[in-house]
Point group: C2
Chain length 183, copies 2
Amino acid sequence: MRLLKCLALICPIGAVPGSAQEFPVPTYGVVGPEGSIHMPDGEFRATWPVLGTWTILDEGEVTGQHVVYTQPGVIEHYLETGTFPDGAVLIKELLEAEADEYSTGTAAYATDVTGWFVMVKDKQARFDGNDLWGLGWGWAYFDVDDRQTTTTSDYRFECKTCHVPAKQTDWIFIEGYPVLHTD
Amino acid sequence: MRLLKCLALICPIGAVPGSAQEFPVPTYGVVGPEGSIHMPDGEFRATWPVLGTWTILDEGEVTGQHVVYTQPGVIEHYLETGTFPDGAVLIKELLEAEADEYSTGTAAYATDVTGWFVMVKDKQARFDGNDLWGLGWGWAYFDVDDRQTTTTSDYRFECKTCHVPAKQTDWIFIEGYPVLHTD
C-alpha cells in the first residue's frame, strides 16, 4: 500500500523496485552500477523544489549559502508519511555569497557554485560493503568541476560525523526546512 | 513564433491569451477579475522552483530569509530568451530566521513565514488604471494571515520605489538569482 501510494504520488517514470540501482522514485542518473553516485543528469535547479537554504556565517559575515534541492514529489511524500521515500535524492548546493546595500537594508545572495553534497535514501541496504552507503543513505561530495566522480571515499569519516546531531531525524537537519514542517 | 515556443515550453494547461485575466502561462489563481492579485492556489513551495534566497542582515545578525519562487517553466524560458514570459509569477516569501552552531560553524535557516511579495509579468498592459499594475508587472503584498487580499493599494509608492535600482533588468534584482545567469 505504501509502495502504491508512492508510485501514484511521485513516479512519473515507472521503474521496477528491488534490483541493485533501481528505486521506486526516479533518481535521474544519480545512482549508477554497484552504488556509484553521480550528480543528476540535466539542470535540476530549474525543475526540482527547494527544501531550504542555509546561510553560512563567519563572525557576522555571510560567506556562503547552501541550497538544498530534492526531486519533485518528495516533499508531498514527506508531508504525508513523515519519511523520505526510498530513492529520495537531496542535493545541497554550496555557493559563495555577496552582501550588498539595498533600500531596505543589507542583504546577501548566492553567487558561484563550489560543489555539491548528495544524499540518496536507501531503505533496502542495497549496497552493503560500499563505503558510500550506510545508515539508510548514500553519501557523496562533488567538486564543481566534476559532476561524475565523487571525492568521497568513506561516508563514515567524511559525511556521518557532521550529521550526528541530526540522527533522530533520519540524519537530516529538518529544522532548516520549513516546507517539511506540519505544525 | 515566440508565443509558440512559450506554449510548447511552459503551458501544461492551455489558456487563450489576450483576454483580461488570461495569460499564456498558467497563473494558478494569482490574477483575478479586473486585475485583482491573490496568492496562488495550493502549496506552491512543493512544486515551484526557486530563483534564489536573500539573507537579510542587521548589524551582522541574520534577521530573515526571503525565498523567491516562480512557476515551473519560467526559468527555462528566461534562459532561452533573456526575458520573463507573459504571466510569469514571482513570489518572494518572507521568513524569520534563526542561527545555530553546527560542527562546520555558524549557519542560519528560515523559520516562520511572515508574508509574501507577488509580481506578475504583464506584457500587454491588461489592467490600465488599476494601481496594482504598471511598468510591465502586477505588484502586491500579502500578510501571512490573508492570502486572498493584498494590503497594497498603489504599486508606485509601495513597490516601485524599492525596485528602482533594478530598472535596467526589468525591475528584477537578477544578481541574486544564479540559476538565471548564463555567463
